[in-house]
């Protein structure tokens, strides 16, 4: 006859236990919990530190995510949109003080220009498929066809298709706003400088410089461009060759060969 199996009480069993056994079990249980917590804590710490290290590497190796804010990684999925920071705003009043109107107008104009530059320069979809029609809505209908004809002055032109990645180096935007005697904005001139560096599929570095001035007026409640006294886009390419080492050149640190992916 087999003995009946011994049934061990569960830890939460309220069956009476001798005091020393209870104390011993409690101590073992406490140590186990403590070790588990320690282990879990270490794992979390390791994961956090690993993430931080990878993040630091990404930041340092890819300046497109610099804290400057205007630099935007073009090829990272869900990239933040490019946005101009507004520099100087000048109110040119023909009557009442129009500084507030000028500030408000400059914000709207900066938004419109930012959207345009984001689309035509920074959006990988544009590199692949060309400048979308909607981008040209920045221009008034009276000048839109002309601007499209001269698109190479505003965009990457034929170089877009060979672009692999792009990051903004520096930008500036100043806005002059002309107001009527009542202080209502009538026209504005926005002056833009935009510089970006990219990598072509050929492995060449490309430096893209765009400078432009845009004449704005309000049509149908929207600020639109009705002229451009100047619009220039220059693209310089540089062949990359291996160097002897870091000390061989002082100007080699700007490399857009980041971890970004091609479109």
């Amino acid at each position: 006859m087999r003995p009946a199996p011994r049934i061990e009480p569960a830890p939460d069993d309220h069956a009476p236990q001798p005091e020393d056994v209870k104390a011993s079990r409690a101590a073992r249980s406490g140590v186990a919990r403590s070790r588990r917590r320690l282990f879990v804590g270490l794992v979390i710490l390791v994961v956090v530190l690993a993430g931080a290290a990878i993040g630091a590497w990404a930041v340092l190796s890819n300046p497109t995510s610099s804290p400057a804010g205007s630099a935007t990684p073009a090829t990272v999925p869900n990239r933040p949109p490019f946005f101009f920071r507004i520099g100087v705003v000048r109110a040119d009043s023909t009557g009442r003080d129009a500084l507030n109107a000028a500030r408000d107008s400059s914000v709207v104009i900066a938004g419109r220009l930012s959207s345009f530059y984001d689309t035509v320069f920074m959006d990988p979809a544009t590199w692949k498929e060309g400048v979308p029609d909607r981008a040209w809505l920045l221009f008034d209908s009276s000048v839109r066809a002309r601007a499209r004809q001269e698109s190479a002055s505003f965009t990457l032109g034929s170089q877009a298709a060979s672009l692999k990645s792009l990051r903004v180096e520096n930008t500036s935007l100043s806005v002059d706003v002309l107001a009527d005697p009542r202080g209502n904005p009538q026209a504005a001139v926005a002056t833009v400088e935009f510089k970006a560096e990219g990598l072509l599929v050929t492995g060449q570095l490309a430096t893209i410089t765009n400078t432009a001035s845009f004449l704005f007026r309000i049509e149908g409640g929207e600020w639109v461009v009705f002229g451009y006294p100047s619009a220039n886009t220059a693209i310089e390419t540089q062949a990359l060759t291996p160097s002897a080492g870091p000390s061989s050149s002082s100007g080699t640190s700007a490399s857009p060969t980041s971890a970004s992916t091609s479109p």
Partner: protein
């Protein structure tokens, strides 16, 4: 406790490995990059450079005509109801980006619609800028599109507001009445100097006619400066318009003035003819007057055709 120490050692070891790895990664650059980490450009090539410009100007086959007036109103007087001592008809050939400044001597003895024949500058006293427009239209047969009127103070403020102008003074001027005291040559004028230059008629050849030509020179100097500053900073045009608008009376709206300003930037200074209506001096009763010569008709006809009189 030995197991706990082991765990701690493992954790610390892992951290060390990760920290070292991170440091190596940071130093080495992106993962997967082959070859030397740093590269230097050895060939620079301008791959493409495109530039374009479009300044929307007034367009049309018909020339544009503007009457620019200077009132001799003193402080406190209504500038629209005092004599117009500076009278210039500006014709703009929009198709060829050229223009003409045609000055009328203030003492020109002309018929004024509804008021008989008298000195041209009286027209503004009698009927304001609108009668000045009608008078010049009746003399020339040219339809005037807009008028602009400024005063002594307005001229000073405008010139100062745009940072002065550089005027080519054709000959030395020393006139105690106007305060003009200039050597011949290129002179940098502030507002007060510009006014003195524009008012002096006592020691300039031809008196009133010579003064009218000098006023045209002042307009040319302003146009020259506008071209220069607009080329450097297109936004400066808006400043010019705001300064101008605050110191003139006009039937122009701000947007139209902007269009005119943009149009002006497209006209090279050497495409502008500065003329004075040919005339002879004489007297009517006790008054010194100027009689517009018959030859002026040819200039009016030339100007009327395309806005440019050669």
């Amino acid at each position: 406790m030995s197991r706990r120490n082991a765990l701690l050692r493992i954790g610390a070891g892992s951290l060390a490995v990760i920290a070292v790895s991170a440091a190596v990664l940071v130093a080495a650059g992106p993962i997967g990059k082959s070859g030397p980490v740093l590269a230097q450009p050895d060939v620079v090539e301008i791959h493409s450079a495109h530039g374009s410009s479009f300044v929307p100007a007034l367009e049309g086959k018909r020339p544009l005509f503007i009457l620019a007036l200077g009132s001799d109103a003193r402080p406190g007087q209504n500038i629209e109801r005092e004599r117009a001592d500076s009278i210039h008809l500006i014709g703009v050939d929009l198709q060829h980006n050229r223009a003409t400044i045609l000055g009328f001597p203030r003492d020109s003895w002309v018929p004024i619609p509804g008021h008989g024949t008298t000195k041209i500058n009286t027209a503004m006293v009698l009927g304001g800028p609108n009668l000045m427009v009608q008078t010049v239209e009746s003399i020339t047969g040219i339809r005037i599109d807009f008028w602009l009127l400024t005063s002594f103070g307005g001229l000073i403020r405008m010139v100062d507001g745009i940072g002065g102008v550089i005027v080519n003074v054709p000959r030395a001027m020393h006139d105690r009445f106007s305060g003009a005291n200039f050597k011949k040559g290129r002179r940098d004028f502030n507002g007060s100097a510009a006014l003195a230059f524009a008012r002096d008629r006592h020691d300039v050849p031809g008196g009133d006619l010579g003064r009218s030509a000098n006023q045209g020179r002042l307009l040319l100097a302003a146009l020259s400066k506008l071209s220069t500053v607009f080329g450097r900073d297109p936004g400066s045009l808006l400043k010019w318009i705001s300064v101008g608008y605050r110191n003139i009376r006009t039937d122009l709206s701000v947007p139209t003035l902007l269009q005119l300003g943009l149009t002006a930037t497209r006209i090279p200074v050497d495409h502008v003819n500065n003329l004075v209506v040919p005339a002879t001096t004489g007297t009517v009763g006790s008054a010194s007057v100027v009689f517009i010569s018959a030859g002026a008709r040819a200039i009016f006809a030339d100007l009327r055709a395309d806005g440019y009189a050669s």
